[in-house]
Symmetry: C2
Subunit: 475 residues, 2 copies
């Protein structure tokens, strides 16, 4: 038990035990004995996500299909126990962890890609397929599924949709919700509903597909998804450049567009991020490296050649130095090593990483980072900033020692100040990670009371007994 | 009074008169005397949309801002009269007409483009700006707002969002909802709520922006929109080709993608459509013209040159003849004349046009059209098919005489059969036009009971008194 648990169960939501023998027997009837886990050791992997706070469920249930999930949810409404759906369990806001107890529904067994329609540019998949497996499967047909959260090797498509995952390609290709054509969902009350369809044009009734996407498993459990695909771009190339200041680096971003290039990705690292990777891996960045830009373009080979040269010119004109442009796929992979080195490199700065994913209009990124560095100093907390300069989504990482309560308190204060700055700059508190239980206390910093009230009304209308993923989003 | 009216007011929704003197006095207080219209002549233009069935409102109110609209909706909840918001009034399903009486809120006066942010690629606008005016305003900054419903010269942005408007560019660029970053809306109960924001990455709470988009004015009145923009493509080009059969023409569509070209638009006309424009305007199409394809590409000038040559090759390889490729903007405009000639050309085939906008996975378009032609024969109704082959959204036009009850009955039967065929082919009953009151009787052909139930619950939760746009979507 921890403090979250106590706070959240006070709200009068579903709190009946899921672990009584009658409930367990019914669950076993629905999914089969071997797919109900209660052994603490087997349940433990389902107790946490990337936040690494443990909330062990009373049972983990591994259904095979929508019918089984519907039966589980009808039981949950009858007996009033909480149900939390889980994909890859790699989220940063606790969306998949059962903070109010009850059961976790693992979608691990629902891992079939059902149909790939190359001519019609869509794929139908179960939720338990990893983003990577889906990408690989469609690329084999010369097709392209653009959303690419950095956890793509472990994240499940169901979780990507539930969280409306982003990624580095969103500067050109948008986010997960732009690729979801239709869903089969089990509603909180245990009905199976199909929303959306197979086509990108579809205006039949309210856009429930859009509503479920990003609803953090609170409005329904995704049991099948139809995803829009694109033709696989023929080629890609990357330009890497170092700048003296973040302001110089970010000033290049709109200049690419003015030169009529829309990069796939524009990634930026701040001074601390560069120092961190340099001290761990010795890439050879000098003391004058105040910001690093990685700019990728894609398309037809000729167009990629042209566009990458334009990018090279723009960064050079903008004060970039040590400019490298990839000539082939291998060189390109090498240029991205520095980005991949970041996560391991910053680990040494603390056992706890407050990985926040604030977002601001992209022209405000330099101001954001300037103020975040100031916040880090004020709260004596080491901070590393990097992220998606093309869409203004910056990963602010406050590092501290998990076992030092004072350092944790200071880091939390730094997080709150960062959220305030983001909102003040016209942005918001999460671009990709969602709210979950971790950011729930801050929701009203980003949204007005009438907006939150609309969300609560929708939740109440679809989940009158508060069964599905309680303890999230609203405090 | 007509039959719709009687049916709809039977449902126990808000039916109190809006035209009593107390209500009118309060409305005049809120917006000023001159902005409350009750004179039948002044009210009349607000009684219908493109369906051309008249439902005169009891009063038309022309507010200036969200505060005034919020006050009107609070009054409507107090006195229980229906409120229907109206944009350009050019819809095809009656979304903006007050079938249950009450007042119409005209957004005509809310017609300012507030801010254009070229570097951050967004525009903030009031809802009463026409799509065309918005496009022109952003193009002056070398920016691009892709959604382009064919009514773009008269449609309002507010209506585009409420209906999630499509258009011909959606094959590459998607639909309106892909460009809405944030909204200010007045809720059915008269609260002002901001949803979404200024950034394309934003996962703070449920996606109410997506929910409002396409909600047909039933969940809120849009008072401000923040729209995502793209850099304006440098060049465009079009290829026009004639084919003997629809199957041949449509078989080219996936071949463009396989050749790694993503056209902006792929428009198709069937044999009857070609005959219609030919008989009116003598373009010179022969008897062997069974289908016509118009394929547009855009991008950097070199890329457009390359892509349009690829398109030309693909259509020639696919059996296309009389192939024309534009060399400049003027030639391109000329190639599109045939598409623009369609609406005037088919008018002579009837005073009533049942303009349906069904959508199927694009590989099923030839089957759809074959079956629709069969349906036309069966019900002795002339039918013209054209539309968006790139996204499977086909405009099926059944023509008849508005004053011939038997012809009208046969046309309605043909419409129902067409919807059934579309759903059977994996598609749905509306790609762009929405449901309104016109398609409400067919909603359950496309959606299951549990899906409709979710929609009803959301409507009930946000609009407990059934004030906002009653008589739509659900029968």
């Amino acid at each position: 038990m921890n403090s979250y648990h106590v706070t959240l169960t006070r709200q009068g939501r579903a709190v009946t035990s899921a672990s009584d023998e009658i409930v367990l027997a019914r669950l076993r009837e629905i999914v089969g004995d071997e797919h109900v886990l209660i052994d603490p050791e087997k349940v433990e992997p389902y107790a946490q996500d990337a936040v690494k706070e443990k909330f062990p469920p009373e049972a983990v249930v591994l259904p095979r299909d929508a019918d089984e999930i519907a039966a589980i949810l009808r039981l949950a409404n009858e007996r009033r126990f909480p149900v939390t759906a889980r994909g890859g369990g790699v989220g940063y806001t606790g969306g998949a962890v059962p903070v109010d107890g009850g059961i976790v529904i693992g979608t691990d067994r629902m891992n079939r890609i059902k149909e790939i329609h190359a001519d019609d540019l869509y794929v139908i998949t179960e939720p338990g397929v990893t983003t990577y497996a889906l990408q690989q499967a469609v690329e084999a047909h010369n097709l392209f599924y653009p959303p690419d959260p950095s956890s793509y090797k472990n994240s499940f498509i169901g979780g990507n949709i539930a969280e409306n995952a982003g990624g580095i390609r969103s500067a050109k290709y948008g986010v997960t919700k732009h690729y979801v054509l239709g869903l089969e969902v089990v509603t909180p009350t245990g009905e199976i509903a199909r929303v959306g369809g197979l086509t990108s044009k579809n205006v039949v009734g309210f856009d429930l597909t859009g509503l479920i996407c990003g609803s953090e498993g609170m409005l329904g459990i995704i049991t099948e998804a139809t995803l829009r695909l694109l033709p696989l771009p023929e080629a890609t190339a990357t330009v890497r450049a170092t700048f003296r200041t973040m302001t110089e680096a970010c000033a290049c971003v709109p200049r690419f567009n003015r030169a009529r290039v829309t990069p796939v990705a524009i990634e930026v690292l701040d001074r601390n991020a560069i120092r961190a990777v340099e001290s761990e891996f010795a890439f050879g960045f000098g003391e004058d490296a105040g910001a690093l830009l990685l700019v990728a373009v894609d398309g037809h080979a000729d167009e990629v050649e042209r566009a990458s040269r334009v990018v090279e010119e723009v960064v050079k004109d903008g004060g970039g130095f040590d400019v490298l442009r990839s000539g082939n796929r291998e060189e390109e992979e090498k240029l991205w090593d520095v980005r991949r080195a970041l996560s391991p490199a910053i680990k040494k700065f603390g056992t706890m990483k407050f990985n926040e994913d604030v977002v601001v209009p992209r022209s405000r990124v330099p101001e954001l980072i300037e103020q975040v560095v100031e916040i880090g100093k004020r709260h004596e907390t080491f901070v590393v900033n990097f992220g998606h300069a093309g869409d203004g989504n910056i990963h602010v990482n406050f590092m501290c020692d998990r076992d030092d309560p004072d350092a944790m308190r200071r880091a939390r204060a730094a997080v709150r100040d960062t959220f305030a700055v983001s909102v003040n700059l016209g942005g918001t508190i999460s671009g990709e990670h969602g709210i979950g239980y971790v950011k729930a206390p801050y929701l009203d910093m980003a949204l007005g009371a009438s907006t939150i009230d609309m969300m609560r009304r929708i939740k109440q209308a679809l989940d009158p007994n508060g069964i599905l993923n309680p303890g999230k989003m609203f405090v």
